[in-house]
């Protein structure tokens, strides 16, 4: 069959009630221009669209809020842009069971404000634009600073509904936290980048919001002493929710000042690197733990060049975290910039950061990074020359793999994404199993073709 854009639009229009449009330039995904955008209003409509595409040999790219479309390799092809934006309902919220079931197109920010009314939250805090949806967050397995205490997507998700490329609607897990019936489909789909099926709904466990918050801020002229302190913190009985070390290099104002008073970072803080340690718990314990951390830092002040040790709370603390969210949003903001995620052991964070700073200097790259030093995930924005970035990615991946870590490019403009090694390579047998999974779930490569590791 020969497919024209018009007949494609007509056919999909008959399958999706009022949710099909011709694609425009704003629907380009990593350089690939789909013909039509289909926004199904139900999982049955998702199934109809996929079954049709799969039968006709058409390719579908899945889009949630579109905030992380630069994750992964550029798609090999894409005829239909399948948008989940109309699947945006809270299906079932059981505050007393502390679980919630939502459709995939619901925005995380909307879910959090819904849950906040019952003083609960989904314990995921990726630094993404407000448009980010639940389905996208699951598919990219993106996580934030509080993963230290609460775990990542895989630790919160307890149930999932998916549509496979042949139109099969299937579920895995359930809506109770404790459940070992059947293979763990929710985890298989976490981080699968939409290559196995389209997520239409998911169920999560929830946590209560904490009573109080304090943040200890320390600065230093090199990252190493801050990373050392982080390792000592996780070996202690302190229970921070956040344990970050950040480069202040690119920040134009000190973190604790209102947005309207830009001034030289170096002048106000006495250091280029900042550590933020957040305690969220009952107020008395938060005070005690923050004070204990300050003592821990000062106990070695003779040999440890920490400066500007301070405890923040209230409005100033809120401002600090808002600013961090602005400075470290996970989206490349320039044609010559990309964002990598390195994963290393906590004791290897300092040496990896040293490699990063060294590579940046050698390759004349601008870098800005945020290291979740307590759990070893580091997000770094690198900007510069294309060839330099290609070299830097290889070097930094090598530095991460020394301690059995990894590095992936999580956001890159299409031109860069096709040049740098986005995923790295896996051992042959491990990759072979992933390829077989793909072939079982989506044998025709109908979904997000070529975006995932090894071109899956």
């Amino acid at each position: 069959m020969k497919v024209s854009t018009q007949s494609l639009q007509e056919t999909l229009g008959s399958l999706v009630d009022g949710g099909v449009q011709l694609a425009t330039e704003s629907d380009v995904v990593s350089g690939v221009q789909p013909y039509v955008v289909a926004a199904p209003g139900s999982e049955q409509e998702v199934a109809s669209v996929l079954a049709y595409a799969n039968r006709e040999g058409l390719k579908a790219i899945v889009r949630g809020g579109g905030t992380q479309l630069n994750t992964g390799l550029p798609p090999g092809d894409g005829d239909i842009l399948l948008s989940t934006t109309r699947l945006n309902q809270v299906v079932e919220y059981a505050p007393h069971d502390m679980t919630v079931t939502v459709q995939a197109g619901l925005r995380l920010v909307d879910l959090q404000s819904h849950l906040a009314r019952a003083r609960q939250w989904l314990a995921l805090d990726p630094v993404l634009s407000p448009g980010a949806t639940i389905g996208g967050i699951i598919s990219t397995n993106v996580s934030g600073a509080r993963r230290l205490r609460y775990g990542g997507v895989r630790d919160q998700i307890i149930g999932i509904r998916v549509v496979l490329s042949d139109g099969t609607i299937a579920k895995g897990g359930g809506k109770v936290v404790k459940n070992v019936a059947g293979y763990d489909l929710p985890k298989l789909f976490t981080g699968a980048l939409g290559t196995l099926g389209v997520i239409v709904a998911a169920t999560f466990r929830l946590y209560p919001l904490r009573a109080a918050s304090r943040t200890v801020v320390l600065t230093a002229s090199t990252p190493a002493p801050l990373c050392d302190l982080a390792v000592r913190v996780i070996a202690s009985t302190l229970e921070p929710t956040v344990l970050d070390v950040m480069s202040l290099r690119a920040t134009t104002r000190p973190l604790d000042q209102p947005d309207s008073t830009p001034q030289s970072t170096r002048a106000s803080t006495g250091g280029l690197y900042v550590m933020t340690v957040r305690f969220e718990m009952e107020p008395e314990s938060a005070d005690e733990q923050a004070a204990a951390l300050v003592d821990m830092a000062r106990a070695e002040a003779g040999s440890r060049p920490y400066s500007d040790v301070q405890i923040m709370q209230g409005e100033a603390e809120e401002r600090l975290w808002r600013q961090v969210a602005v400075d470290y949003t996970l989206a490349s903001d320039a044609a010559n910039a990309l964002i990598v995620k390195a994963s290393v052991l906590p004791t290897d964070v300092a040496s990896w950061l040293e490699s990063l700073e060294h590579t940046a200097e050698q390759e004349s790259l601008k870098v800005r990074w945020r290291a979740h030093a307590g759990h070893g995930l580091i997000f770094a924005r690198l900007a510069g020359d294309e060839a330099a970035l290609v070299t830097a990615i290889d070097q930094l991946r090598g530095a991460a793999s020394v301690g059995q870590g990894s590095l992936v490019v999580v956001d890159a403009p299409p031109m860069l994404a096709s040049k740098v090694d986005v995923w790295g390579t896996l051992p042959g047998q491990t990759f072979e199993v992933m390829r077989r999974l793909k072939l079982r779930f989506d044998p025709n490569y109908t979904l997000n073709p070529g975006r995932f590791i090894g071109g899956i």
């Binding site: 109770v176 459940n179 070992v180 763990d184 059995q404 992933m434």
Partner: protein
């Protein structure tokens, strides 16, 4: 019977001590913790290394001999039940803790390592391994990985799957692969996520990288007793509603309390309807503040007695009763069936009333022990095998409880697994399409279905050939691939 040449080949791989072929010795392996299914395997082999496991599995694959992996054999759903004519691969000789990395909070262990050994090894340094199934003194990490084991403390700290970072894994065709690793977010699909909890149907883990946790500053355990399970349930609801996440909340009803007391003298009050154990951990000040709130909530819900464990000994004793609960049933009944169902926690009062009604109608006693914080019930159906028909009635009753759990939106198993026992219940929870989709995973990894066949899924999906490679895009072929 296996051909003698195969037995010789296996003996060459694992040594004479590593092969069991005498019928009397083989009978030791005829069942796991679920003893109403019994099958004597053709042979038991006990490898001591990844290479030996690989070589044994290669023989099985080449000869099309089905095989079943087994840890300590404490599983309660028949997951390690042998296959008639098949080989049982016991990992009990792979018992080394290979690596302890305290600063990064990681350990690497072989599958035969006993759960509790890990904590015993690291507790002097202030660390512990969180998943703590009641059988932790004897159950193995390999078995924990297969079953995604939980335990009372998974309420706050999660299940085995939340603590497994990586594995060395022997696939059913004998290939060895590394999945995950010591760091988070290994690129690619979450293979550890699907292997953990797959009940030994995807292959054999021969090395497991686990997260360990720093011991919190304070741990406090309290016991409260109530007239009724309803009142105890109200206290649990109150605790959750107050935004408190306890490390554990356990409940026992009157019959369970009596049995536990008879067995281990944990000091539970005997003339009450329910006992609640509540454990909080974390920063010392917070724990004592929140515990005061827990006490208020319990008293408001009508607690008859509220008691705090003041020493480690008192705390251990409180837990000893609970952890001995299943075995303690022997004190009050000749036979019993352990059930493992889950409900949304708020459905607790209803399900308990339903169980009571079912128990009364069947004329069989049911003791209730549960992880009340997460709605995981362990109703113990008591019966006497010597009375004709009573075992069947007990099975019927136990099965009906599971159907009721599903009707409340829960699960047929919270931690014991599906195994042999609950295959038929899978259709109460999942559609045919769901089950067929799940089995795409098995088809990708265990397509010949030689590794622990006939477990978990009621009707094994036929896998067919591996689909072909990437196909060119038809629109491209048709010359219609216009791009803006």
């Amino acid at each position: 019977m296996l051909e003698p040449r195969i037995v010789v080949e296996l003996r060459n791989i694992v040594g004479t001590n590593g092969v069991i072929d005498k019928h009397e010795q083989l009978r030791t392996y005829e069942s796991d913790g679920l003893t109403n299914f019994r099958i004597v395997p053709a042979l038991v082999v006990l490898p001591t290394s990844t290479e030996q496991v690989q070589a044994v599995v290669r023989v099985c694959h080449r000869e099309h001999i089905p095989f079943v992996p087994r840890g300590s054999g404490t599983g309660l759903s028949g997951g390690a039940l042998p296959i008639a004519g098949g080989i049982l691969i016991s990992l009990a000789r792979m018992r080394q803790i290979l690596k302890v990395d305290l600063p990064n909070q990681r350990v690497v262990v072989q599958p035969g390592v006993i759960n509790l050994w890990i904590t015993q090894r690291i507790v002097p340094h202030g660390y512990y391994y969180a998943p703590d199934p009641s059988s932790q003194q004897v159950c193995s990490i390999g078995g924990n990985v297969a079953e995604n084991s939980g335990g009372p403390h998974c309420l706050k700290y999660g299940f085995t799957v939340n603590h497994v970072l990586g594995m060395k894994f022997v696939m059913p065709d004998g290939e060895v692969m590394e999945v995950g690793g010591p760091t988070f977010d290994s690129p690619g699909y979450d293979l550890p996520g699907i292997i953990v909890g797959s009940e030994g149907t995807l292959g054999i883990a021969t090395e497991v990288t686990l997260r360990i946790l720093r011991k919190p500053e304070a741990v406090q355990t309290a016991m409260a007793s109530f007239d009724t399970t309803d009142a105890a349930g109200e206290a649990v609801s109150g605790i959750i509603a107050a935004g408190i996440v306890p490390a554990a909340v356990e409940m026992m009803d009157k019959l369970a309390i009596e049995a536990c007391e008879a067995a281990v003298h944990a000091g539970y009050p005997l003339d009450v309807g329910a006992v609640l154990l509540v454990e909080l951990d974390g920063p010392r000040t917070e724990v004592s503040q929140l515990l005061q709130r827990v006490e208020e909530i319990c008293r408001r819900a009508g607690a008859i007695e509220y008691r705090l464990a003041h020493t480690d000994e008192e705390r251990t004793l409180m837990w000893k009763g609970r952890k001995a609960a299943f075995a303690a049933m022997g004190r009050v009944s000749p036979n019993y069936i352990v059930q493992d169902g889950v409900i949304p926690r708020t459905a607790l009062p209803q399900i308990l009333r339903e169980i009571e009604e079912l128990s009364r109608r069947a004329g069989l006693r049911v003791a209730n022990v549960f992880h009340a914080g997460d709605g995981n019930l362990h109703p113990l159906v008591l019966y006497d095998q010597r009375i004709a028909g009573q075992e069947h009635e007990a099975e019927e009753l136990s099965g009906e409880i599971i159907r009721r759990c599903v009707a409340h939106g829960g699960s047929i198993t919270g931690e014991h697994g599906v195994g042999m026992e609950k295959k038929q219940h899978m259709l109460a929870m999942f559609t045919e399409a769901d089950l067929a989709t799940h089995q795409l995973i098995r088809c990708a990894i265990n397509p010949d279905n030689l590794c622990n066949p006939d477990k978990v899924y009621p009707t094994p999906r036929l896998c067919g050939e591996v689909p072909g490679p990437y196909q060119p895009h038809p629109i491209e072929l048709a010359g219609l691939a216009e791009r803006f």
